[in-house]
Amino acid sequence: MARLSFLDVKKSFAGVTVLDDFTLEVGEGELVTLLGPSGCGKSTALRLLAGFIEPDGGEIAIDGIDVRSVPPHRRDLGIVFQDYALFPDRSVFANVAYGLAARRLSGGETRQRVTAILARVGLESLADRRPAHISGGQRQRVALARALAIDPRALLLDEPLSALDAAVRAAMRAFLKEIQQSFGKTTLLVTHDQEEALSLSDRIAVMTGGRIVEVGTPRDIFERPRTATVARLVGSNTLVPVEAVTVTGEACFARVAGGTLAAEMTTAGRSSLLLCLRSDHLDLGPPDGGGPVGRVVQSHYLGRRLEAVIRLQSGHDVHVTAGEDDPFLRKGEAVALRLRHPGRLLDAAT
């Protein structure tokens, strides 16, 4: 187990900055996720740690020791690649044994370790198969087993589940969590998938434009974003500008789009605030309840729920999740919004 740290790391390619002021610490045994849209620099961070590219500035350390001059083959990190990068001409067994050969283990010891780890990931019956002859989920397990076989100081997972279809992905997510916990490896996960990040991580670092915007536990990130950027990136939120805030004793109300909605108390400055409307916290009612009024402009049937877009009189479009039987979700219907839980007030500049 090891501690991973990035300190003020910078990286640019051909004059385009892809990572700036990047500082992050991953504690021993912790699983930290870099979450962000494609191109936000999250994979670059992982590749910097792996040593495939060199930072332009800043420090990258493992257990407090600067590794910038250590080539990738001496960093002792287990990496699971997005495309798995299995050796196509080698069997499952040989793929897992590959890293052990470089460590000069005896034949017997290698066999023992590979067999044990294949059993652990449930692949012992496929040991002789080539990667082309196993399923996507199985390939993913081989990649994981190969990375773990060398008993690395930490695991780096680069979009490990993105190549799998939805059904396999859910199962693999649970499996990945179980393996990571039982091996207790410090892990850096890179993903653009919120659900993956929320369900697997101890902490999430939300990234955009080459910077970390916020770091926090999944619950904090999802339910209590501190910045407007994170509120936009994570969850299904609509941010609407606040015209005024009124505090009545313990309660706080925000005036948005000509109506009033419950808001959380905030310490943020009073200028240019946004109210975060979580789509699953919004209710629709007749347009005389005091909430902002709008019209249903779209509604999509998604099985267990309906998703609608309400265009407020101010012109803002708000996403709402509602039960399938919601009587107000007819296209063109005039409705008022109501928040079941007070919405967060966020500084528009964040």
């Binding site: 792996a50 040593g51 495939f52 590219i53 060199e54 001059s69 080539p71 990738p72 083959h73 001496r74 960093r75 002792d76 990190l77 287990g78 990496i79 690649f81 997005q82 495309d83 990068a85 299995l86 050796f87 196509p88 001409d89 590959y98 890293g99 470089a102 460590r103 190969r146 990375a147 060398i150």
Partner: protein, 554 residues
């Protein structure tokens, strides 16, 4: 793709890249550069001088050979374009009996040595040729074979396959849905062929034309045997080399330099065409061959079959001649005899040993270079990648004769003397085939994701060992293709060999060339059969065992 050298690249690759660059400079860039400088600088004074070009203009054949070379190039290119495109479209778009066999056979012409083809066609269409006499009996008189007719005829048949392959690949790459789209928009099949199919072919045809043109102006064997009173640059340069060795090499350097400049010009145009012609269609399904009425289908088989048969005729002619009684140029068809074989038996072995030794060494050296070079170009990039990429383009501009002359000039005297050693021949062979081989290997390498290498490194294997352990096995199909290409083309190499070979180091093509030149068709045929055997047997093995189709990547 060019990018900065990665730290994970390691010092090993920096060293390897430097060695590769040094080899290319030593084997090609330096000698060829010196040759060219020699044509514009007065050796005695070290000042710029046009004396060499003055000698070129003043010489009896200089300007004529330049004009003839260009004319020959244009004529052969035009003929090859018509023949190659026609056959490519017929074979890919029409369905007729024997389609698959006819589709494959033209590729064989690419490995039939020029000397063998030239000899066989002399036996058929020469002054005393089989077909010439048949025509005479019918009261027809064919044009004299020596000169323009013979050169264009043999070169076209030897080289139309380049157009055929490039155009065929382009037709197959085109998406069938494009034609379907045109049809659904109301175009009749004939209009579809004209407005969609042939238009998509244009870039490929330009490419094919340039390849043929480059080969035609560089070719030595065919004009040397058939040219007679039509001088061309490659033969004139060789003659000047033979006559002036030791003397003032003015004419020789201007002739070679002009040939070199032509090569540079063609390559520049070629690169421009490649850059502009990126109309690659994301093809999913190859177009289907059109069904024909039985009569039309049979006619198509006959037409396409005749073209393909003409390209393979040399093989049959020399097979038959080798076991027929001959006296000099006169072949007594019908009288079986093993005399030719018996007479040549003692000669075959040393020639075979030389040819095989040189080809093996050149293939081994070429492969090592090409495998490492492909990695440097595709993966290392940066200054090293660019340098190797550009240096390996050089041999494409330099004809065999010019390369041979430049190597002799540079390594005949001075600190490094290589003339009269096999090293200089092997170096020339390997260098000439590096561009083709590199392309084949680089194509395979480009399909291997970089993450595979990174995975190996992250598991503790250093960069260079990762290359050897992981990449080389994955690149094997490309390496096998490159190996076959180098082997096959080196065995039939004549133009550089004729300049570089020395007593005791003659090769099969050289000996065939000399036998044909002295009119001994029986002896030439025996050696031709031996040469074809050592070319085709490995080719067959490569196809059979590895499924390698070396000319796919060419």
């Amino acid at each position: 793709m060019i990018r900065r050298l990665r730290p994970s690249t390691g010092i090993a690759w920096a060293v390897v890249s430097s060695i590769l660059i040094a080899i290319m400079v030593f084997a090609v860039a330096w000698p060829v550069g010196r040759l060219f400088l020699g044509s514009i600088i007065d050796v005695a004074t070290g000042r710029p001088s046009i004396a060499a070009y003055q000698a070129f203009i003043d010489s009896r054949t200089g300007l004529a050979s330049l004009g003839n070379t260009l004319l020959l190039g244009i004529a052969v290119t035009a003929a090859a374009l018509v023949l190659g495109t026609m056959l490519a479209v017929i074979v890919t778009r029409l369905d007729f009996p024997g389609r698959r066999v006819i589709a494959f056979l033209p590729i064989a012409t690419l490995v039939i040595p020029d000397v063998v083809a030239a000899q066989a066609w002399i036996q058929l269409l020469g002054n005393n040729g089989l077909l010439t006499r048949q025509a005479g009996a019918l009261g027809l008189s064919l044009p004299g074979f020596y000169g323009w007719f013979g050169m264009i005829w043999v070169m076209t048949l030897q080289q139309y396959a380049y157009v055929y392959l490039i155009a065929g690949a382009a037709v197959q790459k085109a998406d069938a849905s494009l034609e379907d789209a045109a049809a659904s928009l109301g175009s009749a099949p004939r209009r579809v062929l004209r407005t969609v199919t042939l238009r998509l072919l244009v870039p490929a045809l330009v490419m094919g034309a340039l390849v043929v043109f480059a080969h035609a102006i560089d070719n030595f064997g065919i004009p040397a045997i058939l040219g007679h009173r039509v001088p061309v640059l490659s033969v004139a340069a060789y003659d000047a080399f033979v006559n002036e060795l030791g003397d003032e090499p003015l004419l020789q350097s201007s002739l070679a330099s002009i040939l070199l400049l032509l090569g540079v010009l063609v390559l520049l145009v070629q690169r421009q065409v490649v850059a502009m012609s990126d109309v690659r269609v994301p093809g999913r399904s190859a177009p289907r061959p059109m069904a024909l009425r039985p009569g039309t289908a049979a006619l198509t088989t006959i037409v396409a079959g005749a073209v393909v048969a003409a390209t393979l005729v040399p093989v049959f002619v020399i097979l038959v001649t080798s076991v027929t009684a001959t006296s000099g140029p006169v072949v007594h068809y019908g009288s079986f005899s093993l005399d030719n074989w018996v007479a040549l038996a003692p000669k075959i072995q040393p020639l075979l040993v030389n040819s095989l030794m040189l080809a093996s060494a050149a293939t081994a050296a070429g492969l090592v270079f090409v495998v490492l070079g492909a990695y440097v170009v595709v993966r290392i990039g940066g200054v090293f990648g660019l340098a190797v990429d550009l240096l390996t383009l050089l041999p494409l501009m330099v004809s065999g004769t010019v390369l041979g002359i430049s190597l002799i000039q540079s390594y005949n005297t001075g600190p490094i003397v290589l003339t009269g050693t096999p090293v200089i021949m092997i170096m020339a062979y390997a260098a000439r085939r590096v561009p083709l081989g590199l392309k084949a290997v680089a194509a395979t390498l480009a399909t291997i994701p970089e993450s595979v290498e990174e995975a190996s490194q992250s598991l503790g294997v250093p960069p260079f060992r990762t290359f050897a352990k992981v990449l080389v096995p994955l690149m094997l199909p490309g390496i096998a293709a490159a190996g076959v290409l180098i082997w096959v083309t080196t065995l039939s190499e004549l133009s550089a060999t004729i300049v570089l070979y020395y007593g005791g180091m003659s090769t099969l093509p050289i000996e065939i060339f000399q036998q044909v030149d002295s009119g001994r068709m029986g002896a030439a045929s025996v050696l031709g059969v031996v040469l074809l055997a050592v070319i085709f047997v490995p080719l067959g093995i490569a196809r059979g065992f590895f499924g390698v189709d070396p000319f796919r990547s060419a």
